[in-house]
């Protein structure tokens, strides 16, 4: 563990808190900070009923996606692995689109669970097909399945164009209208993601040296690999279920976290979690204030911020990918 980690981590948590306070006070009508704290104390008003659950959802979604990516990158030993690339996200997307098209708005409360089921099914298929092959083949299995699932989603959207608007918005990854029910759905998974990630962090660290060295160092791959897969899929699925397919967080944030605090998972798991939280929270807040009353989905902002940054990293030829 690097010595400057606690300091960096505290700064990061502070930034998340600042972003949250800012996000609570802005909106269709800006709320002064005094009124924000009053509404929080009285558990009422727009701040408590609408903005707070949305802020919390953004934080938990970002945390889940980022930790999922961090664990997947450790599992596959590949910095390009992420829940979106491996098809877990699109599996959740497909299930949701089907559900929305079939059931319309009646499906509402069941949506998170359906998305979760879709993501898990795709994850199960990838694991069954790819677990005994090299990390490269494992990733390619996921990419292929992801492409296939995306194609099915597109086909459905095109075929049922008039009624697909709701599904469209969901697919873009948005936190619009997320309430306390979503926070309740997310919280246990986020705790599992962070707690489980921290619990396996030390054991999983030698994976970075390759399967042979890890085995020589006493790591039991036959146990650790399925555990990492389960944790990363469960976190990503829970996040997709609530916020739709917010891309890039699971790819970019783990990578950024590793650059900032080194490859030790004991630090990069919590750091990437909070960095992901910050990222999605800022994206969602920006989406709300850029062009009101129009809302730009957080997923789009993430892609707008993430893609150029990623290109910049590759272009700069940074060694610490």
């Amino acid at each position: 563990m690097r010595r400057d980690f606690p300091k960096k981590f505290l700064v990061l948590v502070g930034l998340v808190a600042l972003a949250a306070i800012f996000s609570l006070s802005v909106g269709a009508t800006d709320t002064p900070l005094a009124a924000v704290s009053e509404q929080l104390r009285e558990r009422g008003g727009v701040v408590y009923l609408f903005r707070l659950p949305r802020v919390l959802s953004a934080i938990l979604v970002g945390l889940c996606f980022a930790i999922s990516g961090t664990l997947l990158q450790s599992l596959t030993r590949n910095p390009l692995a992420s829940p979106d690339l491996l098809g877990v996200t699109s599996g959740g997307g497909l299930a949701t689109v089907v559900a929305i098209l079939l059931g319309g708005s009646t499906i509402g409360p069941a949506l998170p669970w359906l998305a979760f089921a879709g993501a898990s099914v795709v994850a199960g298929i990838i694991w069954t097909l790819g677990r005994n092959s090299t990390p490269q083949k494992f990733i390619l299995t996921g990419v292929a399945l992801s492409a296939f699932t995306q194609a099915v989603i597109t086909l459905l959207l095109v075929t049922y164009a008039p009624s697909a608007a709701e599904a469209m918005i969901w697919l873009k990854g948005s936190l619009f209208g997320r309430g306390w029910i979503h926070v309740k759905h997310l919280l246990p998974w986020a705790i599992l993601s962070l707690g489980g990630g921290l619990a396996v962090a030390h054991t999983a660290n030698p994976l970075a040296l390759g399967p042979n060295v890890a085995t020589s160092l006493g790591v039991r791959l036959s146990l650790l690999r399925p555990l990492l897969w389960f944790l990363s899929v469960a976190s990503a699925a829970a996040a997709v279920a609530v916020a739709g397919t917010i891309g890039f967080v699971g790819l970019l944030v783990p990578h950024l976290a590793r650059r900032m605090c080194g490859p030790d998972l004991r630090t990069s798991v919590p750091f990437s979690g909070f960095l992901g939280a910050l990222f999605v929270l800022v994206a969602d807040t920006l989406g709300r204030i850029i062009a009101p009353p129009l809302e730009i989905p957080a997923g789009l902002i993430c892609a707008f911020l993430g893609a150029p940054y990623f290109g910049f990293l590759l272009w700069k030829g940074q060694t610490r990918i």
Partner: protein
């Protein structure tokens, strides 16, 4: 009590056996050199001895206990293995790499004890890497990097150390440095060392016991003096050697002079 393999059979692909009925005994507290042509099964044998591969038949006994009965951590505390071309993630420092050697001793949270600190420091000192400990591995020379990996194996603080071509990629001074380090570990700490080497003199000068493999079978084993004779080397490697006695009559020198020609020495591809 030692490391013993009993009629091992192994193949990567069905029908092309790599090891056939191989039985060897690694003497405890000695340096053993594994020699033989490319693809003869040396690396595979090391992997089987470290349980990275499972034999199709046959058994391995370590300290009187079947290798299968070791827990992963227990094995990692008894036996260290440095493979041929290990790769580290970008950005890892020398110290961080060597600290991985303490992994089998740490609990779930990976807390570091003073014993861990001491052993890591000792491993860095033995490999003359103390001054480079905060450097990123990718910024080191090939020789320094190889020493860092050896330091990782040392930090495991095991009775047995297996090394697959530890001198490859090193200049001649660093080659000797590694071999002298292994000798020192053997003499001062009584560690049992098994190394795959290609330079016949590394085997003849530094090993107590030499195991020569050919085609996945035991070709001959014995002291350097018994193995490094013109007849054995000629039929083992397909070269005409010059063998002459050194200052120590037990450690002959061996210089390969020419191949025997006509396909005899054709190099087979190394099996991964």
């Amino acid at each position: 009590m030692s490391l013993k393999a009993q009629s091992l059979c192994f193949s990567y692909l069905p029908g092309t056996p790599i090891l056939q009925e191989l039985s060897v005994q690694i003497p405890k507290g000695k340096i053993t050199a594994l020699i033989g042509r490319n693809g003869c099964g040396k690396s595979t044998l090391l992997k089987l001895l470290n349980r990275l591969l499972e034999p199709e038949s046959g058994s391995i006994e370590l300290e009187g206990k079947n290798l299968k009965d070791y827990s992963s951590r227990e094995l990692a505390r008894t036996l260290a293995h440095l493979s041929q071309t290990p790769t580290a993630p970008e950005g890892l420092t020398v110290r961080e790499l060597v600290e991985f050697g303490r992994h089998p001793y740490k609990g779930l949270l990976g807390r570091t004890t003073s014993k861990d600190e001491e052993t890591v420091h000792w491993a860095l000192r033995e490999t003359s890497l103390v001054e480079l400990e905060n450097r990123v591995l990718s910024a080191l020379s090939g020789g320094q990097r190889q020493r860092a990996w050896i330091a990782l194996a040392l930090a495991q603080d095991t009775e047995y150390v297996l090394l697959d071509e530890p001198t490859t990629y090193l200049d001649i001074a660093h080659q000797l440095e590694v071999l002298e380090l292994l000798t020192r570990l053997n003499e001062e700490q009584n560690k049992t060392i098994v190394m795959v080497v290609h330079d016949p003199n590394h085997a003849s000068q530094y090993a107590h016991h030499v195991v020569a493999l050919a085609g996945g079978k035991l070709f001959k084993e014995g002291s350097p003096k018994e193995i490094f004779t013109p007849e054995v080397i000629q039929s083992l490697f397909g070269v005409q050697p010059l063998v002459f006695p050194g200052e120590d009559p037990e450690k002959p020198w061996c210089v390969p002079k020419a191949t025997l020609g006509t396909g005899e020495s054709s190099v087979e591809e190394e099996v991964p």
